[in-house]
Symmetry: C2
Subunit: 167 residues, 2 copies
């Protein structure tokens, strides 16, 4: 058998890669979300609507009845996969895994109005359930990003850099 | 605040829902994959190419250098989110979370040839790295599926039913 080139090794992030990653996150209106099932500890993948706060922090808006919501309330460790697939080979499209810590947003808190305005700006249809008592926002604070810009171009970028000002 | 309708409650799966779920899985050529990071236990979401064996068991073909591969070798608990997003609101598209147990396929085993033929049938470009020594197949045996057929239509379907003959 042949050996593969070291295509999956991580490279030192360039300013261009960091800038592309920030754009990928701010453009995302939904993501795959991985949470831990409270009963068995399995990693559970689901789809969630997302947006970001002004500083780039991802936010999701989810039903209190949904399994991922119950999972995040029991254990805040999670990750988001962002980057739409579009046409062509989904494995060559830019995508990023954001390893995050989730926190529910209180409707009394300062950030709530910002989160609501920004989420509904991205998801006009969510106005239908924007004020349901059992829906809630979470902030997802990134601690690390794995950014795959394309085949053979992968970067690990720390959470502060993900949220920092664009280069 | 208003209360939401019980839109996220699970319904008893109908034969039609089971049939649609099987089709969704067999049509999938990639998926979001959730694994457990060996170091910290975070649920990590990534993208993987997938196909199925003849009995419907999902298979993935992944680089030994990739984080999800190392994660599955350390802990076989995982899940797949299948169902392409396409046009329109991704939150209204049919999708399914398959809670699975992964097992690496030995290149000496009986199933290997079937897995390779079926995967490469779905992923012609993977022939470029089809025989790299550090790439490997995993079977992902479903123990449970959460199938969201659309808004307000969600089902829990056990793994044997997912793999059984179409109704």
């Amino acid at each position: 058998m042949r050996k593969s080139p070291s295509s999956s090794a991580f490279h030192t992030p360039t300013p261009e890669a960091i800038s592309q990653l920030k754009e990928l996150i701010s453009d995302a209106t939904y993501a795959s979300l991985a949470t831990l099932s409270p009963d068995e500890g399995y990693p559970i993948c689901s789809r969630a609507g997302m947006s970001t706060l002004g500083d780039g922090t991802p936010i999701i808006y989810v039903s209190g009845l949904a399994a991922h919501t119950q999972a995040l309330l029991a254990d805040p460790r999670c990750s988001l996969l962002v980057g739409e697939t579009g046409k062509g080979d989904p494995l060559t499209h830019a995508r990023a895994t954001l390893v995050c810590v989730a926190a529910p947003l209180s409707s009394q808190g300062d950030i709530y109005a910002e989160a609501r305005a920004r989420y509904l700006g991205n998801h006009p249809k969510a106005k239908l359930y924007a004020d349901f008592a059992d829906f809630m926002y979470f902030t997802l604070r990134p601690i690390r990003a794995h950014y795959v810009a394309g085949f053979g171009r992968a970067y690990v970028i720390d959470g502060d850099t993900v949220l920092g000002a664009a280069v």
